[in-house]
């Protein structure tokens, strides 16, 4: 897209093109050089690589769940719901206050499944409520405004939510209860995966299939797809746009809430700022898969999770960079920037927002 656009600018933009090519080559060269170096030193055993993979998949499943909210909203409103990471946080954080008493009451000992389901449900419902409220208060009145306006409102909403929850629940980190049934690892042939991670992955895949069914098989799902295709025409067909948009936010919020609780089960702690980084990562995942594209978000999430967990060891260790795991986020952001610049239509790349972006 950039190549086309830049050629379209004046036709002599060799300098910019050259710069972009150099940028691309440098990143690829670093990655290849690092990979070769890492493989030659052979510092990591096969088991370690498999551990990285398993961790990446679990993390990626969570990113994918959050990414669904971004992608659905973008598909319908063409806006980045910057506050979505905070929606995720609100569910996880609030669910803590259900999980903690359940833990002291010993519910997780006796009925681990019911306990986890209850906590997840609470988280999902809270996130859903927050998402719907944000839509109603901050986005709906601005639907006709220029594109930057809702983005700025979203940034504002994001801050408001962070500091609201900080004010309500305190600035400290709360540790999620350790559920006895989810301690230790699960062995699947050569794979050893932490049980919490396995739950996160299974939960994420389950939720994604439910969401996919809703979008593809139900009437409201059909309405969502119609609105995403063309709002005006959908309205002419008798679809209540406001209701569909509200439902989209609710659905995305619900998924984010589930993701939040799963995330909290894995990392075992919650705080008011926990939504920011996963939010940005999930957005990256959504862009990676092709924003507005639901299977793309799922794929993008898993891909990003794996890259992020394998990447530091694979690309950076071979370059002799100390403590490469510190740069896991930098790898994720580099992916984000690269995708935005070179392939804004994403991996699945069918629908391109070129005409609107």
């Amino acid at each position: 897209m950039v190549a086309q656009a830049s050629r379209g600018w004046t036709g002599r933009l060799t300098f910019v093109d050259a710069f972009l090519w150099a940028f691309r080559l440098v990143v690829i060269a670093v990655a290849v050089w690092g990979t070769v170096g890492t493989i030659r030193t052979g510092r990591y055993s096969l088991e370690q690589w498999l551990d990285f993979l398993a961790f990446g998949f679990a993390q990626g499943g969570i990113y994918a769940l959050i990414a669904l909210g971004y992608t659905m909203v973008y598909g319908i409103l063409r806006m980045i719901n910057f506050a979505h990471g905070e929606v995720f946080m609100s569910g996880a954080f609030t669910a803590y206050f259900v999980a903690a008493p359940l833990h002291t009451a010993g519910v997780f000992h006796r009925h681990p499944l019911a306990g986890v389901l209850l906590v997840t449900l609470v988280g999902a419902l809270v996130s859903m409520t927050v998402a719907v409220l944000v839509e109603r208060v901050a986005y709906r009145p601005l639907r006709q405004a220029p594109r930057l306006v809702p983005l700025i409102t979203a940034i504002g909403a994001s801050f408001f939510l962070q500091y609201t929850f900080r004010g309500l629940y305190g600035a400290g980190v709360r540790s999620y209860p350790d559920i006895p049934a989810l301690r230790g690892e699960l062995f699947l042939g050569p794979f050893a995966i932490l049980k919490t991670q396995a739950v996160a992955l299974v939960g994420a895949v389950l939720m994604m299939s439910i969401l996919y069914t809703i979008v593809m098989r139900t009437k409201i799902g059909k309405a969502m797809r119609a609105v995403a295709e063309d709002k005006e025409v959908a309205a002419l067909m008798g679809i209540d746009i406001d209701r569909v948009i509200l439902f989209t936010f609710a659905l995305g919020g619900f998924m984010a809430g589930v993701a939040g609780v799963l995330y909290a089960l894995v990392v075992k702690q919650v705080h008011f700022f926990m939504g920011f980084v996963p939010g940005i990562k999930a957005f990256t995942a959504a862009v990676l898969g092709g924003i507005g594209n639901i299977p793309g978000a799922m794929l993008g999430g898993l891909f990003l999770g794996v890259i992020e967990s394998v990447g530091p060891a694979l690309f950076l260790d071979g370059l002799g960079i100390p403590a490469p795991y510190q740069l896991a986020d930098a790898i994720a952001f580099t992916m984000l920037v690269m995708v935005l610049i070179f392939r804004p239509q994403g991996l699945l790349g069918e629908r391109l927002a070129a005409k609107r972006a």
């Binding site: 897209m1 950039v2 656009a5 830049s6 600018w9 004046t10 933009l13 910019v16 710069f19 972009l20 806006m79 980045i80 206050f97 208060v137 901050a138 009145p141 601005l142 405004a145 594109r147 930057l148 306006v149 809702p150 983005l151 700025i152 409102t153 940034i155 504002g156 909403a157 994001s158 801050f159 408001f160 939510l161 962070q162 500091y163 609201t164 900080r166 004010g167 309500l168 629940y169 305190g170 600035a171 920011f276 940005i280 957005f283 862009v287 960079i321 100390p322 403590a323 510190q326 740069l327 986020d329 930098a330 952001f333 580099t334 984000l336 920037v337 935005l340 610049i341 804004p344 972006a357």
Partner: protein, 563 residues
């Protein structure tokens, strides 16, 4: 009525749980009588009635207002009952006994129910009556109340300013020693401002008419006198305010510099950059590396030699980070630049660059600038440095705004495709915006490095970029005075009110959303934006337009003969 009451009740409970009410309760409006937290609750009650009573008239408005006030009071009472029955504190950290005491005026929850409802109803009825008051009563009342509240909010600052010996008697009259504002003092403040409001309302038309009757040169002269007075005030501020106020002003100045830079990107050219803090950081690190006397310093240059280099480096960084995102627009651009900003921060923070940039420990031992053998050590000294830099930056942006390139930026902001069709070189124009914006942020970064005497990666997080964005939006996108006003309001005020610091970002969030909903053009909109908005409003009501126009020409014709 029910809905308005519920909303205001929930807002009251929300503000209490977030901790704002209790924090404000620590300040007296009138010592021993009324705290700011209580005042907030009273204002909410009045507002509920005012809001609900709007549109209704007379007795009906009062009834509706009282009803919604009562509903709001009932919500608060319900919260108190709940708080008594359940221990909310394990979940909500601010649901403390103190909070309950403030909300229930020291009564047990059950006994407070009738008080809350009746009090809410009374306030609501009063609130609904406000619009019915004649303007001659309403305005002085409002002026007086506002003045008293402002004195309460800024009491520490005012006490600080009244420290000199000559002002001791004023201080002792206004404030109870070691506590809040005094009752007689606040009565006096209220009376003075209410009377001033009355006096101003009487004489305003005459004054305006007189000013309008002045010859053109006289009007310009008056404006020049105003500007001159403003400049003198700016120069005297640190002398009067001392080191605390100067420190705050330096920070305001730093943000103004960054905001003027980002204003070139976002306000002029419409390029939303969320990684803007990167350029501030790059410049600060450049100054640190070039001047530090610590182990990481590489050149031991003087500050004055390092500043131009730092500004150029950050401008180059702006261009380099700008090239890859040339083809990206709108919100994608925002996210891509956010990504760049975070990458820069993570790299600086990482162990990989530690031998050069010091990792999370940063670079220490940056000497203060020395001017003709005089070390700019105190915040007061740095203030003048910041003032000079900010004035330069404001002048540069002002000149740029109306230049050829400034108009090209605005064309790009309005429509990139059309701008290109008009023959504007998008690449050069956009890169110029990125580079110049980064250069202005670089000026700020250089001062930041010497202000702290050290640089750490933690000082350069995304929050700074968001702060800067928030202040230019609140001030008015593309408007230079708006940017300055925005940084005074969003940076200066929170710095002065440190004890409410934890609510700062909460307020930012609300401010961003509220500005977009209610006043998207900002507090002090750019002339172009204002003109557009006026033009839209003026189209349907063309006929009355010529009358004032004719009047003003008459004035200019009269001017020379009169003068």
């Amino acid at each position: 009525m029910l809905r308005v009451g519920l909303i205001f009740g929930v807002v009251a409970v929300f503000l209490s749980l977030v901790g704002l009410v209790e924090a404000l309760h620590a300040r007296w409006v009138v010592d021993g009588w009324l705290s700011l937290g209580q005042a907030l609750l009273l204002i909410l009650g009045l507002a509920a009635g005012y809001r609900a009573g709007r549109g209704a008239t007379g007795g009906r408005a009062v009834l509706v207002g009282a009803g919604s006030g009562a509903v709001a009071g009932a919500v608060v009472a319900g919260f108190l009952l709940l708080g008594e029955a359940v221990n909310l504190r394990s979940m909500f950290v601010n649901a403390s006994p103190t909070l309950y005491e403030i909300l229930s005026f020291g009564r047990p929850a059950r006994a407070s129910v009738p008080v809350e409802v009746a009090g809410g109803a009374a306030l609501g009825a009063l609130g609904a009556l406000i619009p019915a008051l004649p303007a001659g009563v309403r305005r002085p009342l409002r002026a007086g109340v506002q003045a008293v509240l402002l004195v309460s909010v800024f009491q520490e600052l005012i006490v600080l300013l009244l420290q000199p010996q000559a002002l001791t008697s004023v201080r002792e009259f206004l404030f109870v020693a070691g506590a809040g504002p005094s009752l007689p003092g606040m009565t006096a403040v209220f009376a003075v401002f209410a009377l001033a409001s009355v006096a101003w309302a009487r004489s305003e038309p005459q004054v305006r008419a007189q000013v309008a009757r002045l010859p053109r040169s006289g009007q310009i002269g008056m404006r020049l006198v105003g500007v001159g007075l403003g400049a003198v005030a700016l120069l005297l501020l640190p002398v009067v305010g001392g080191s605390f106020v100067s420190q705050v002003l330096v920070i305001v100045g730093l943000y103004t510099l960054m905001a003027l830079g980002l204003n070139i990107d976002v306000g002029f050219a419409g390029l939303l950059d969320l990684g803007f803090v990167a350029f501030f950081a790059i410049s600060a690190y450049t100054v640190a590396l070039l001047t530090s006397t610590g182990p990481l310093g590489i050149a031991h240059w003087s500050f004055w030699a390092a500043v131009p280099v730092a500004v150029v480096v950050s401008a180059i960084a702006g261009v380099i980070l700008g090239i890859p995102v040339l083809g990206i627009r709108g919100d994608y651009l925002a996210i891509a630049t956010l990504g760049f900003g975070e990458i820069v921060r993570l790299l600086v923070l990482s162990d990989a660059l530690r031998p050069w940039l010091g990792g999370s420990q940063g670079i220490l031992a940056i000497p203060k600038p020395v001017l003709f053998g005089f070390e700019l050590r105190e915040p007061q000294h740095l203030y003048y440095l910041t003032l000079v830099f900010a004035a330069l930056a404001a002048f540069a942006s002002w000149r740029l705004q109306n230049s050829k390139v400034g108009r090209a930026w605005m064309a790009i902001r309005e429509d990139e495709d059309v701008a290109q069709a008009l023959g504007i070189d998008l690449v050069a124009t956009k890169l110029l915006a990125f580079g110049l914006g980064a250069a202005l942020a670089g000026l700020g970064g250089a001062i930041f490095a010497v202000m702290l005497g050290s640089v750490f990666p933690h000082s350069f997080n995304l929050l700074i970029s968001i702060n800067v964005l928030a202040l230019i939006i609140v001030g008015g996108l593309g408007s230079i005075p708006g940017v300055i006003l925005g940084s005074v309001a969003l940076i200066g005020l929170p710095e002065l009110l440190r004890e409410f610091g934890e609510f700062r970002f909460l307020v930012y969030g609300v401010a961003l959303v509220a500005m977009m909903l209610l006043r998207p053009e900002g507090l002090w909109p750019a002339a172009a934006v204002r003109r557009e908005l006026r033009a839209e409003e003026a189209i349907p009501e063309r006929p009355p337009e010529p009358v004032p126009a004719a009047g003003s020409t008459a004035v200019t014709v009269q001017g020379p003969t009169g003068g």
